[in-house]
C-alpha cells in the first residue's frame, strides 16, 4: 500500500483492445496500491467489459464512443481532462494523443505527465515530431519492448505488463472447464484469440472453424472473444485461462504475445497490418505465419511436439508493479 492515495488519470485511447488492456493492467495494480484511477478509453470493446468491478473500488472508466468522429473524440478528451486536476496523468502510446489533440491540451494539465512509451511507426515518428511531443513528459515508462526513445534520459524500462500476476491464473483443469472442455476430454486445446478490430474478431471465428476441420479430433479448438459474440466463447481476460491452452493462435499484438510468452504457451500468429504498431517486429520466425497452410502446419507441429503436460516457465515478473512505483515517484 502506498503511503498516500494519489489520483491518477490514464489516457488509453486507441482502437482494438490493446491500449485498454495495458491501461487496465496498470490501473488494477495502482488501485491495489490504494490509488484512485480514472481510465479514458474509446475501445469498441469497452462497453461490454466489466471493467469497474474488475479494477476495484477506486477505479472509474470513462467510455468514449468508438464511433465518434475526430472532432467529437477530441472534444470528449478535452472535457475529461478539464473535469479535475489529478496527481498524475498517464498517456498510453501516443504522446501527441490519438488525434494529435494532446499537443494543445497537455499544457493545460497542471500535473506531472507520464508516457507509456512503445514502438511506433517510424514514418509517423519522423513526420509528426514525436520527439518534441515526448519531451513534454516527466517520465517515460517503457513496458518491456524496444521503443524509439527508450534511451531518453527520463525513460525507465520495465518488464512487460500483464493483466494478471502468475498466482491469479486459473489452474489448468479449471481453465479447461472455463473453455468448455468436458472433464473426460483429454484433447489439447487450441485457442484462437479474437481481438483487434471487431471484424477481426469475426475472422478469428473463421480461422477456428478451419482449424476444427483440419485438426479433426486431434484438438479441441476454441474461438475466444472478449465480449459476448455468438458462437465464440466470451472469456475476459483471456490470460486467466491460459494454463488451459496448449496452443494459442492469434495476431501479433502486444498483449497476446506477452501473455503467451509469460505463460510459456506456444504461439502461432500472423502480423496484422496496423497504422502505428509493427506486429512483425514482435513475432519470432518460429511464431509467425504468412498464410493459411503455414498456420495449419505450425499449429499441428506445436501439438505434435507436446507429449504430456508441458513445462511451464517460472512465475513471471509483471512489469506493472515497477511501473506503478516509478509513477508514484513523479506524482504530486
Amino acid at each position: 500500500m502506498a503511503a498516500r492515495r494519489q489520483h491518477w488519470r490514464l489516457y488509453a485511447l486507441g482502437g482494438g483492445l490493446g491500449h485498454l488492456t495495458r491501461a487496465a493492467a496498470l490501473a488494477r495494480a495502482a488501485v491495489a496500491r490504494g490509488h484512485a484511477v480514472d481510465v479514458l478509453t474509446n475501445s469498441p470493446f469497452a462497453p461490454g467489459l466489466p471493467l469497474e468491478s474488475w479494477l476495484g473500488p477506486h477505479a472509474t472508466v470513462h467510455r468514449v464512443d468508438a464511433r465518434l468522429d475526430k472532432a467529437a473524440t477530441v472534444a470528449a478528451v478535452g472535457a475529461w481532462l478539464a473535469e479535475s486536476t489529478p496527481d498524475v496523468l498517464v498517456v498510453d502510446t501516443f504522446p501527441r494523443g490519438l488525434a494529435g489533440e494532446l499537443v494543445a491540451l497537455l499544457p493545460t494539465v497542471r500535473a506531472p505527465r507520464v508516457l507509456v512509451h512503445r514502438d511506433l511507426n517510424p514514418v509517423y515518428v519522423e513526420r509528426f515530431d514525436v520527439a518534441g511531443a515526448v519531451d513534454a513528459f516527466d517520465l517515460l515508462v517503457v513496458p518491456g519492448e524496444d521503443a524509439p526513445f527508450a534511451h531518453h534520459p527520463r525513460a525507465v524500462r520495465t518488464a512487460p505488463w500483464l493483466l494478471l500476476d502468475a498466482d491469479a491464473l486459473l489452474p489448468r483443469e479449471e481453465a479447461r472447464r472455463r473453455l468448455g472442455v468436458a472433464d473426460g476430454d483429454a484433447r489439447p486445446v487450441v485457442a484462437v484469440m479474437g481481438c483487434g478490430r471487431p471484424e477481426e474478431v469475426a475472422e478469428a471465428g473463421a480461422t477456428a472453424d478451419r482449424l476444427c476441420v483440419s485438426l479433426e479430433e486431434r484438438a479441441a479448438v476454441r474461438w475466444l472473444v472478449p465480449t459476448a459474440h455468438a458462437p465464440g466463447r466470451a472469456v475476459w481476460p483471456a490470460l486467466a485461462v491460459m494454463r488451459g491452452v496448449d496452443v494459442l493462435v492469434g495476431a501479433g499484438g502486444y498483449n497476446t504475445v506477452q501473455e503467451a510468452r509469460a505463460t510459456g504457451t506456444p504461439l502461432v500468429a500472423w502480423a496484422r497490418p496496423r497504422l502505428y504498431d509493427r506486429q512483425a517486429l514482435r513475432l519470432t520466425e518460429a511464431e509467425r505465419v504468412g498464410d493459411a497452410a503455414e498456420l495449419e502446419a505450425k499449429v499441428l507441429s506445436a501439438l505434435l511436439l507436446q507429449d504430456g503436460p508441458r513445462a511451464r516457465p517460472a512465475p513471471w515478473v509483471n512489469g506493472v508493479h515497477a511501473a506503478v512505483e516509478a509513477i508514484e515517484r513523479v506524482a504530486r
Binding site: 482502437g15 514514418v123 524500462r157 475472422e203 478451419r210 497504422l275 512483425a280
Partner: protein, 131 residues
C-alpha cells in the same frame, strides 16, 4: 452522402486475413468508386466524405491512383524502406546507454513490412481505430 441501396444484397468484399472468403453480411451501401455493394464493416470514409470499399480505400492510401506503374524508385511509404533500418531513431537520438536492442535487423524480410499499413500522412491522427 452514401448512395441509397437495396438492403437485400450481400456485401461483395472478402473477409479473412488468412482464410479469405466472401463476406456474408448484408450490404448497406455502395462504394462510390467501384460501385461494389458493401456492408458497414467493409466501408471506409475518405476525407470524411467519400464512402468507399476497403479495397478502394487501400488503393487510395497507397497512392496507387496517381502512381506511374513504371516508376520503380524507392518509396519511403513502402514499409521495407524503413524495415531495413529499424532503430534509425535509436540510442544516438538521446546519447544514452543501456541494453542493446533485442531486435536483429536481419530478422525481417520484406514481407514483414505488411505488418505496417502503407499510409500517407493523411491517415495518421485521422483514423482513430487504426492503432
Amino acid at each position: 452522402m452514401s448512395p441509397s441501396f437495396p438492403s437485400a444484397e450481400q456485401c461483395l468484399e472478402t473477409s479473412g486475413f488468412l482464410f479469405s472468403h466472401p463476406c456474408e453480411r448484408g450490404a448497406s451501401t455502395q462504394c462510390t468508386r467501384c460501385q461494389k455493394s458493401i456492408c458497414p464493416l467493409h466501408m471506409r470514409m475518405l476525407d470524411g466524405a467519400e464512402t468507399v470499399c476497403v479495397t478502394c480505400a487501400r488503393a487510395a492510401d497507397n497512392g496507387d491512383e496517381n502512381r506511374d506503374p513504371s516508376d520503380t524508385s524507392t518509396d519511403e511509404d513502402d514499409p521495407s524502406y524503413y524495415y531495413e533500418d529499424y532503430g534509425y531513431y535509436g540510442r544516438d537520438a538521446w546519447r544514452g546507454s543501456g541494453a542493446s536492442s533485442s531486435h536483429d535487423t536481419n530478422d525481417f524480410t520484406e514481407a514483414d513490412g505488411e505488418s505496417v499499413r502503407r499510409e500517407d500522412d493523411a491517415s495518421f491522427e485521422e483514423d482513430l481505430g487504426g492503432s
